[in-house]
Symmetry: D4
Subunit: 224 residues, 8 copies
Amino acid sequence: MTSDRTVDLGFARLDVDRAARTGTPEVVFAAGKTPAETVACLAGLLDAGVRPAWATRVDDATAAAIRDRWPEAVVDEQARCAVLGPLPEPVGAVLVLSAGTSDGPVAAEVAATLAACGVDCRRVDDVGVAGIHRVLAVAPDLAEADAVVVVAGMDGALPSVVAGLTDRLVVAVPTSVGYGAAFDGLAALLTMLTACAPGVLVVNIDNGFGAGVAAARIARSAQR
Amino acid sequence: MTSDRTVDLGFARLDVDRAARTGTPEVVFAAGKTPAETVACLAGLLDAGVRPAWATRVDDATAAAIRDRWPEAVVDEQARCAVLGPLPEPVGAVLVLSAGTSDGPVAAEVAATLAACGVDCRRVDDVGVAGIHRVLAVAPDLAEADAVVVVAGMDGALPSVVAGLTDRLVVAVPTSVGYGAAFDGLAALLTMLTACAPGVLVVNIDNGFGAGVAAARIARSAQR
Amino acid sequence: MTSDRTVDLGFARLDVDRAARTGTPEVVFAAGKTPAETVACLAGLLDAGVRPAWATRVDDATAAAIRDRWPEAVVDEQARCAVLGPLPEPVGAVLVLSAGTSDGPVAAEVAATLAACGVDCRRVDDVGVAGIHRVLAVAPDLAEADAVVVVAGMDGALPSVVAGLTDRLVVAVPTSVGYGAAFDGLAALLTMLTACAPGVLVVNIDNGFGAGVAAARIARSAQR
Amino acid sequence: MTSDRTVDLGFARLDVDRAARTGTPEVVFAAGKTPAETVACLAGLLDAGVRPAWATRVDDATAAAIRDRWPEAVVDEQARCAVLGPLPEPVGAVLVLSAGTSDGPVAAEVAATLAACGVDCRRVDDVGVAGIHRVLAVAPDLAEADAVVVVAGMDGALPSVVAGLTDRLVVAVPTSVGYGAAFDGLAALLTMLTACAPGVLVVNIDNGFGAGVAAARIARSAQR
Amino acid sequence: MTSDRTVDLGFARLDVDRAARTGTPEVVFAAGKTPAETVACLAGLLDAGVRPAWATRVDDATAAAIRDRWPEAVVDEQARCAVLGPLPEPVGAVLVLSAGTSDGPVAAEVAATLAACGVDCRRVDDVGVAGIHRVLAVAPDLAEADAVVVVAGMDGALPSVVAGLTDRLVVAVPTSVGYGAAFDGLAALLTMLTACAPGVLVVNIDNGFGAGVAAARIARSAQR
Amino acid sequence: MTSDRTVDLGFARLDVDRAARTGTPEVVFAAGKTPAETVACLAGLLDAGVRPAWATRVDDATAAAIRDRWPEAVVDEQARCAVLGPLPEPVGAVLVLSAGTSDGPVAAEVAATLAACGVDCRRVDDVGVAGIHRVLAVAPDLAEADAVVVVAGMDGALPSVVAGLTDRLVVAVPTSVGYGAAFDGLAALLTMLTACAPGVLVVNIDNGFGAGVAAARIARSAQR
Amino acid sequence: MTSDRTVDLGFARLDVDRAARTGTPEVVFAAGKTPAETVACLAGLLDAGVRPAWATRVDDATAAAIRDRWPEAVVDEQARCAVLGPLPEPVGAVLVLSAGTSDGPVAAEVAATLAACGVDCRRVDDVGVAGIHRVLAVAPDLAEADAVVVVAGMDGALPSVVAGLTDRLVVAVPTSVGYGAAFDGLAALLTMLTACAPGVLVVNIDNGFGAGVAAARIARSAQR
Amino acid sequence: MTSDRTVDLGFARLDVDRAARTGTPEVVFAAGKTPAETVACLAGLLDAGVRPAWATRVDDATAAAIRDRWPEAVVDEQARCAVLGPLPEPVGAVLVLSAGTSDGPVAAEVAATLAACGVDCRRVDDVGVAGIHRVLAVAPDLAEADAVVVVAGMDGALPSVVAGLTDRLVVAVPTSVGYGAAFDGLAALLTMLTACAPGVLVVNIDNGFGAGVAAARIARSAQR
C-alpha cells in the first residue's frame, strides 16, 4: 500500500489518502465531536489537499463554527452536511425516492453526498406504497437511472415494490421515522433485509451518507 | 352472564356456551395436547351439543386418533384442522390473499376457519409485491369482498399495498416463512404493525385461525 | 385505477383521491414535519376539496400554526388532532374502553378519529381488569356496539377478557404507558397478539388513529 | 454459618445442609446431567440423610435409571419429577390454577414440589380469562388458600385478574406454551411482570419448581 | 362479589372497595396523570373513606399540588410517594436490602409502601456482593424477618446469594441502575428470574411499590 | 407495464416476465415448498421459456426429484442450487471472499448465482482478519473486480477492512456461522450495517442468492 | 510482518505462523466443517510443523475420523477437543471454577485448552453462590492462582462474588445452561458484563477455548 | 476474611479494605448519586486512609462540589474522573488504542484509571480499520506492552484485527458511539464477543474503568 499517509492531530489521525485508495475521501463524522474538533479535522484535510473536505451530522453549533472559520462553506441544513471546496463536475444519474415527507432529512443527506461525490441525482419525495400509483408513476424514471436509492421509515415496504419494477440496483435506507413497533427504524431495516425481490442492498438506519457513496460508486462505474 | 356452562373433564374445563356469548365456539388448540386429550375435548364438545366441533394445529398422530374415533371427520391436512359435524351454510365473501406459495398452510387455516364459521372465501395465492401487477390484478376482487385477509412472510409488505387499494378492512397475518433477519415472522409482524396505510389490523404470527374468526365476524356483521 | 390524482407540493405528494379508493382521506401525520409543512399539507388537501382535512400527532407549535391560519380549526389537545371542515353526520356505534386513566390520550385519538370518520362512539375510561367488576359492568354496552376498541398499556390484559364476553370484533391498541418490563408498550403489544380469545385484532403501539379508522370501517359496513 | 457441610463427588459438590439453612434441601436439576450423574447425586443426598431426595426435569432415560436403582422411587411423569423417601405430612393449603390444558406439565411440577415440601395443594386446570366465569367460579377457593399459584402461557393475563380478587399472594408462572409472538414464554413473562394489580410475584418461564418452593414457604409461614 | 363499588370521576373509575377484596386499597399511579388528575383521584378516594389514600411516582409538580390541597400530606421525596391520612399501626418485620447507594429511591419506595400497609421494616443499604462480608453480616437479621426484599441493579446478583442463606421468601426488585449491557434493568431482571437458589420471586424493574405490597402480605399472613 | 405475464399454477402464480423487467428471472425458493411443488414451478418456468430455470435452498429430497425429472439438471450440492438450461456466456468479474471455511456454503450460493446470471467470479475462501496478511494478499485482486462480495459469520469484521482497501462496491453477506453471542448471524449483520468504511451494502443473513444477483447487476452495468 | 506463511488447501487457508505472532497456533474450529475438512486442516497444520495441532467442537463423527487417521490422537470427550502431538511442559497455575455440574463441558474445554497451551490448571466444579460457603472455601486457592476462570450459566452471579475476593484477573465464561429467561446464556452474559466488581473480563457464551487461551496468556506473562 | 472493615454512612457502606483483598480500592460510581453523596463517600474513603480516593462518572455539578471541598482534587474532564491523593509511582506499560475520535472519552477513562492504579499507558487514538495501515503502524508498539486495551464503537472490528497481530491480552471496550443498528453499543459488544481471534476479553459498553483495572492487574502481574 502506497496510499497511506496519515496526518496526526493527536485526538485524530486523518487518513488523507483514502480517496486514492477507495474513491471517497475521509469524511468527518461530526456527531460525538466538539465543534472545535470538527473544525480541526476539516482544516487538516484541507491542509493535506483533500477537496472537497466535508462533514456530516453537523449540528447548529458545529455549523456556526464552520461558517465562522470558512465563510464560503456550503451548509445544507436539512441534510446536516457542510462542504468546503469546489464540488466535482457531476456525471451519471441516481434516482432518490423517499416514502414520506418525514424521511426528507435522510434523502437530503443522500443527495448532498452524491453532489460531493460528483454524481447527479433526481429526488422524488413522498412516494408511499399506500398510493401505489405514485410508485408506478416513477417507473419511467427508473430506466434512466444508473442506480436507485430508496429511503423509507415505518413499514419500509417501498424497496420491495421498486425492485420488482427495475433492473437497477436498489440501495435501501431505513429511517427512524415512525413510533411504537417501528422501534426507531428496526422494523424498516428488517423489512428491507427480507425484501422478497432480489437486487435490494441495505445500509444502516438513517445512513444517507453511506447510501450516497454506494450509489455514486455504481454510477461512476456505469460511466466508465 | 347466563351463557356460562362449563364441562369439567379434569384436565380441561370446556366453555361450551362460548358460541352463545361470542359467536364462535371453543375450538380445541391441539398443540401441546396429547392425541387422547384432543379426542376427549372434541367428544366433550360434541356431547354438549357444539356443532361443528373442531380442532386446530392437528399433527399426524392426532389426525389419526380423530379419524379412528370419528371416521366421518373432515381433516384438512394443509390447514392442520379437523372438523366434526355439518358446516354452516356459507354467507358473505372474504378474499384471502397470500404473498407466496410457502405461506399456503396459513392461508389454508384461514380458509378452513372461515368454512367452519359459515363464511364463503375466495383464495388467491402467490400475489407478491415483487410482481406488483399480480396485486393490481386482484383489485376488482377487493371491491366484492366483505373483508380481506392478507397472509405474508418475509418482508410482509403486501398488506400495506392492498390497504391502499380498498376501503375494506385488511386482516394481516404475518407468517414464519423466511430466514435470517425474518426472525421467524418478527420482520413481517413489525412491517404489518407499522403499515403506512390505515385499515390494517394484525394477528399473531401464523395465526390463520384468529384471522379467519375475525374476518368471519366482519362478514357476518356486513350481512346482518 | 382512476382515483389517483396526486398534488405535488415538492416536499410532499398528496394522495387526494385516497378517500375515493379507501373510504378514508389522506391524513397528515404531523410528527417529523415542521409546522409549516403540516400547514401546507392541510392547505393542499383543502384546495383539492378534501373535507374534513385533518392532522394527527400535532404538537403545541403546530397547533398554534394551524389556528393562526384557520381560526375555525378544531384542535383536540388530549388527542393531539386538528380538524378542518365540517364533520360528517355520525352513524353507527363504537365502544371505546381504556384500561387506565393514563391511556386517555390514545383513547382520545380513537374518539377524534371516529368523529372525523363520521361514526358515533361511547368512551368508558379506567376499566382495568384488577377490578373485574368494572369490566363486567360494561358487558351490556358491548352488545349494542358495532365494534369495540380496547386501549391498554402495562399488562395489556383487557382485550383478552373483553373478547370472551362479546361477538363483536375487538380492536386492541397497546399503549406505551408503564415502565420497566413494559418496554414502552412491547409487553402490552405481545399480550394482545397472543390473546387467548379469538376476535382480537391489533394495531401499532399508541396508534389510536389506525384503530379509529378500522372501527369506523366495521361500523359503516354494519350500517350498509 | 454452621450449616455448611459439602459432600464432594468430584463432578458435583452437594450442599447437604441446605434444608437447615433455607428450609428446602438441594434438589437435583437433571437437565444437562447424564442419568448416571443424577443417580449419583441422589445417592449422595440419601447417604447424607436428606429426605426426601428429589430430582426435577427428569427425562425418560433418567427416570429409568432412577427406577432401576431405587424401585420404590415415585416418578411423576407429567411433572417430570422423581422423589425418594417418605413425603412430609402435608400442612397448609395452596391453590394452583392453570390457564389452559397445555400448561398442565408446569402445574404438575408445582403440585409435585408442594407435596415434596409438605404442603397440601388443590389444582384447578383450564381457567382461562376468555371464559371469565370460570375464573369467578374459583373466587371462593381463593379465600381458603394460604397462597395462590397461577400458571399461564400465551397472553399470561390470568394473574392480573386473580390478583384483583384476593388478598393472598399470587405466584405467577409464565409458560412457554404458545407460538409466534408468545416468543417461548416471553410474552407471558412480560405480562405478569407488568400486571396492573399488586400482589403478583413472578418466577422464570416454566419454573414450576421455584413457584412450588415459594408457595410452600408462604404456606408454612402462615401455619407457624 | 359484593365489594365492588366504583366511583366514577369521568376520566377515572375508582375501585374504592379494593382493600376489602385484596387487602390493599387502590393506589394512585401518578406517572402519566396531570397533577390535577392525581389530586382528584386522591380526593375521590378520601371521599369514599379510603385511609390512607396514597399516590406513587409523584413528581415535583404533583407533590406541590398535593401539599397545596392537603398541607398535612406526608410526601417522601426519595420514594416519590404521598400519603394522606393516618398510617396503620405497624406489625411484623420486613428486611429491605439494597445492593448499592444508587438503588436508594427504589428501596425507599419499598419502605414507604410497607409503612402505608402497616408493616414495620428495617432497611440496610449498599450490601453489594463485591464485598461479600457485608452480605454475611446481615445473616442474623434474615432470621428475624417475616420476608426479605432485595433491591439491586447492574448485575442483580444479590438475591441469589441471600436466598441461599435464609428460609424466608426473597422478593427481588431489579432496578434500572447501571449502563450499557445493564439495558435499563433488563440484566438484573434476567439474573433474578434465573437465580440458582429457589425462594426468589421477582417484580417489575423499579417496582418498589409492588414489592412492598407483596412483602406486607407475607408479613401480615405470618402474624395471623 | 407490458412485461407482466403471470402463469397460474393454482398454488403459485409465476411471474414469467420478471427477467424482462428486472434482468433476473423469477427463481424458485425451494424452502417451504414440497419437492413436487418445486418441480412444478420449474416446469412452469421452462414451459414459459425462462432459461435458465433455477431453484435455490434445494434439500436432498428436492434435488432427487429434480434429477428424476430432468437428468441433465446441474445441482451444486454445497450451494444447494439446481439449474436447468444453458448458462449464459459469462462476462465481467466479481471477487467473492469468505472469512472462514464454515462460510463455504453461502459463498458457493453466491458463485452459483453469479454463474446463472452470466457473470464470472473468482472465489477466495478463509480470508479472516485474524491473519490480516491474508486480507492484504488479495488487495491486487480487488482492483480487477467489478464488485466484491464478502461473506462472513461470527464477528463479521471482514467487510470493514476490505472496504478500506478498494473503490469497488462491497456487498456484505452475514452468515449464521458461530454460536452464543453470534445469535445466528445477528452479530455479523449488525457489524456490517455499522461498518466504519462507506461502500458496504448488506443483504440478509445467509442470503448468497441476493448478493449474487446484486453483484451481477453491478458487473453487467460496468460492462455496458 | 514476517510471520505470515499461509498454506492454501483451497477450501481453507491455514495461518501456520499464528503461534509466532500471537503465541497460540491456529486451532481448527470443527463446527460447520465436515469430518474430512477437519482432518485435512489438522494434516495441513502438522505438515507445516505446528505442534500440538488441535481441534475444538469435535462431534462424534469427527472424533472417529481423527482417531482413524491418527490412532495416537488424544480426544477429550467432555471437552469435545482433539489434540495431536506432544503437549508443552506445563507452567503457571490457573484456577477453573464452575457454578454447576451442568457447566462441566465448558469447564472441560477451558482445562483442555490450558493443557494444550502448556499451563497447569486446577478445576473445582459446582461452586454455586446458593451455598456461599462453597465459594468462601476456595478463597485460599485464589491467592495461589495466576488467573481465575469462572464458568457459570443461569444467573451467572459467581464472577461478581469471586472478583470481590481476589486481586487476580477473573475471566468469566457464561454458559447456555438454563431455560426460559436464561435465553441460552444471554442472562449470564449480561450479568457478567455488568458485574459490580471490577476485574471481570468476559468471553462469548460457552467459549471455553477463548477463556483458556486468555488465561494461559496471563499465566505465562506472570511466569516471565 | 480479615480484610473486611465496613464504614457505615447510612446511605452507603464503604468497603474500605477492598484494596487489601483485590488490589483496587472501592471507587465511587457517581452516576445516580447526588453531588453531596459522592463527596461524603470520598470523605469516608479518605478518613479510612484510602489513597487515592477516586470517583468516576462525575458530572459538572459533582466535579464542582468536589473541587469546592478539596481544591487540590484532580478532575479529568474528558474522562469524567476525580482523584484525591497522590498517584502511585507508575510501573508497567499498557497500550490504549481507540478506533475513532468520538471514542475519546472512554479511552480517557481507561487512561485515568491506569494512572490511579499506578500503571503507565500510551494512548493512540483514531486507529480505525477502514485505514488498515494505521493499525499496522502500531504493531511495533504491541510487542512492548504488557496488555492492550482497544476501545471501539460502531462496528467494533478493531480488536479482532489487533488480536491477530500480538500475543498480548486484548481488553476490548465497546462504546456507545454510532447510531441506528449500532444500538447504543450493542453491535460493537457482539462483534467483540464473537471476535474470530482468541485473546480478546470484553467489558461492558463504555466501561473504561473496568478495562483500566483489568489491564492494570495484568501489567502488575507481569512486573512481579
